[in-house]
């Protein structure tokens, strides 16, 4: 049985990938950070008790900022494949914690590659590095392909740039089977609540059910190429099954603005939104009630904005035979449905007198 080690297993992509790998009959090992509260919600359904026999899902405590810990886990697990999905993954937060972001995102990848090298696993262990469309930043051409030069615009992107090239370098220097997946934005009902897409679907669902009055967003004109995380994790696995290691762009090839996202999510929730004003003064009103339900808060502007990203995944389509399965509208609908369900649960709880958490940013 093949063994996979997934860093960032408690995150959106980690959870989808773990599920996929279990279906593909892998023994799945994951690394989670120690926290004072449970942080395994997304993989709760995959959990296997340590007392069960033939366990195929094992969690290890660890942290990408600790080399000794990573070397020991890789030594214990002897993985056939490592998927490095762990990171400080929030662009805006990286402006506030640039050094931590560099440590976890840039050095983290290097530490894993070094672990492979130190343990002499260069021929055995394949390595997937979660790279990102944020590398293109101030885009040099549209759409972006594997050949488009990078122009990172945030501490997050600069750190990811290091991780990208160090993966390429260890492939060229030491023959490690290392691949970068340059994934464009990928969302899902289990996306972190502070990322703009989930913030929108959750916010509108809660506005609809009366938990919240207004949704505050940053740059409404920002354009992204949004796909479904569940579709994208398949690519991660596929890349490591090829003859030769290569880097691939993964994207849908379709671009929407943040405002488009709000409109479609609004329609799904049952809120018809009318826009007025522009720039920081732009506001979205509920046509039925006339109330302002969406507004711009400049606090969410990035110091350096990435205006528009659009990916060209031709190489992945041709070489890996991959196509995204979920359309943008279907994905938004799925996210809204989940957030409506959660908001309804909260409504039920609060009606029955139980306290409900709001979770402010």
């Amino acid at each position: 049985m093949k063994r996979a080690l997934i860093t960032g297993i408690t995150g959106q992509d980690g959870a989808y990938l773990a599920e996929l790998m279990l279906k593909k009959n892998y023994e799945v090992h994951g690394i989670k950070r120690r926290a004072s509260q449970f942080n395994t919600d997304r993989i709760d359904h995959l959990y296997q008790d340590p007392h069960e026999s033939d366990r195929r899902f094992v969690l290890h405590y660890g942290d990408l900022t600790d080399s000794t810990n990573l070397i020991r886990i890789v030594q214990q697990v002897q993985p056939d494949e490592i998927y490095n999905l762990a990171a400080q993954s929030h662009v805006q937060v990286s402006f506030e914690t640039p050094e931590y972001t560099a440590n976890a995102d840039a050095l983290g990848a290097l530490r894993l590659l070094e672990a492979i090298r130190i343990l002499g696993l260069e021929k055995k262990t394949k390595f997937y590095q979660a790279s990102t469309s944020e590398l293109y930043g101030l885009v040099q051409e549209t759409p972006q392909t594997e050949k488009t030069p990078f122009y990172p615009r945030s501490p997050y992107a600069a750190a990811k740039l290091y991780a990208y090239w160090i993966t390429v370098n260890y492939r060229e220097a030491y023959g490690i089977f290392g691949c970068n997946g340059i994934l464009f934005n990928h969302e899902s009902p289990i996306r972190g609540e502070t990322f703009v897409t989930r913030k929108i679907t959750r916010g509108l669902a809660r506005i609809k059910l009366g938990f919240q009055d207004c949704l505050y967003l940053g740059n409404l004109d920002g354009k992204r190429d949004w796909g479904h995380a569940r579709d994208y994790v398949e690519l991660m696995w596929l890349m490591l099954q090829q003859e030769q290691p290569k880097d691939y762009v993964i994207a849908t090839g379709i671009q929407n603005s943040v405002r488009d996202f709000v409109n479609i999510a609004g329609r799904e929730v049952g809120l018809d939104i009318r826009w007025e004003g522009s720039g920081a003064e732009e506001k979205g009103y509920d046509r039925n009630t006339g109330k302002c339900i969406v507004a711009v808060d400049k606090r969410y502007y990035r110091p350096t904005e990435v205006e528009a990203l659009l990916g060209d995944a031709s190489l992945a389509r041709e070489a890996l035979g991959w196509e995204p399965k979920t359309s943008f509208e279907e994905m938004v609908a799925e996210m809204v449905a989940q957030d409506l369900k959660e908001a309804s649960r909260d409504l039920l709880c609060s009606r029955e007198g139980f306290s409900v958490k709001n979770y402010y940013e």
């Binding site: 050094e99 560099a102 370098n169």
Partner: protein, 329 residues
């Protein structure tokens, strides 16, 4: 542009002052009337032999700074209040970076990040120069690299330099810092330590000329580089910080030569045929090496008025001359 006339003396802080570039820059800035503070990881333990060699050691003030330590960076900037900061510190050997990849990242990328964060935090109008590297370009494959050429770094050193370059660009664009990266191609001088191949060749050629009878072992001598003269490259750093707007510049001679050509010049300068004294060995090859680089330094000429006066042949001969002087003393 000198400081003497305008009443107020300018202050420059040089990080990595004990190295080749730091030492030449210190001498240059002193000549311009600057107050120069030189920083090194442990200023009391450093011998500063380069500064002594250039006879400027006595005219500098020294501070100990660890770029990996934010407090240390913040403290020194606050104390010195420099108008200009030149960051030439950090691990400088491509070969060594394959053995110490983490240290390379920390001293190069995190070091630059700490400096930028400290300047941002203190909110004083400091102009900062950061030593970028032509290694970021990787193999240029026939085309000449200019400021628009995409990076393809091929060593942990180069990857770390690329990350530092983008941090500089990011802090310039996000927070309006006056931050410039110089993408300097190879620049040599008698102050290069012997682990750099040019100095290794020059020293061996001189020893052999004096009858040492040794054989010089080299790695891949087919690699091509653009070699310039360090003492004039540091002038370009200063020029960048005197511009109206902060920008990045490629600094090079624009002339590419094989390492074998450099070997030829160095041995020719001591009247020897290098073929009789040099052997190449596979063990000195790097895990990934850059085969050829070409540089296009036109922007620097156009905007800074800077142009390399010395090419590879001059560099090899001047290094040999200096080394031979050492034998006479």
């Amino acid at each position: 542009m000198d400081n003497m006339g305008n009443g107020k003396q300018k202050t420059a802080l040089i990080l990595g002052v004990s190295g080749q570039d730091g030492s030449y820059l210190a001498k240059f800035l002193l000549g311009k009337g600057y107050r120069v503070i030189g920083a090194s990881r442990d200023a009391q333990m450093s011998s500063f032999s380069n500064l002594k060699h250039l006879r400027v050691y006595d005219r500098l003030e020294f501070e100990s700074v660890s770029l990996n330590d934010f407090r240390s960076v913040l403290q020194i900037l606050n104390k010195v209040q420099p108008g200009e900061v030149y960051n030439l510190a950090g691990q400088t050997s491509v070969g060594l970076s394959f053995d110490q990849p983490v240290e390379s990242f920390e001293s190069i990328s995190i070091g630059t990040l700490n400096l930028l964060e400290a300047i941002r935090f203190l909110n004083i109008p400091i102009r900062i120069y950061n030593a970028g590297s032509s290694e970021c370009f990787g193999n240029t494959e026939g085309a000449s690299a200019n400021e628009e050429t995409p990076f393809h770094p091929r060593s942990p050193y180069a990857v770390a330099k690329a990350a530092a370059f983008w941090h500089m660009a990011n802090y310039r664009e996000a927070y309006g810092l006056f931050a410039c990266s110089g993408l300097l191609f190879n620049h040599e001088s008698p102050l290069r330590p012997e682990r750099f191949v040019t100095r290794k060749i020059v020293n061996a050629a001189c020893r052999i000329a004096k009858g040492s009878g040794e054989v010089l072992e080299l790695g891949n001598i087919e690699v091509e580089r653009d070699w310039g003269w360090a003492p004039e490259y540091i002038e370009a750093m200063w020029c960048m910080l005197q511009q109206e707007n902060p920008e990045d510049f490629v600094i090079a001679t624009g002339e590419t030569n094989k390492l074998a050509d450099f070997v030829h010049e160095a041995f020719d300068a001591v009247h020897l045929n290098w073929h009789d004294h040099v052997r190449t060995t596979q063990t000195l090859f790097r895990p990934t090496d850059i085969l050829t680089v070409k540089a296009d330094p036109l922007k620097a000429q156009r905007k800074l008025g800077w142009k390399a006066q010395y090419k590879m042949k001059d560099v090899a001969r001047m290094m040999v001359e200096e080394e031979l002087k050492g034998f006479e003393n």
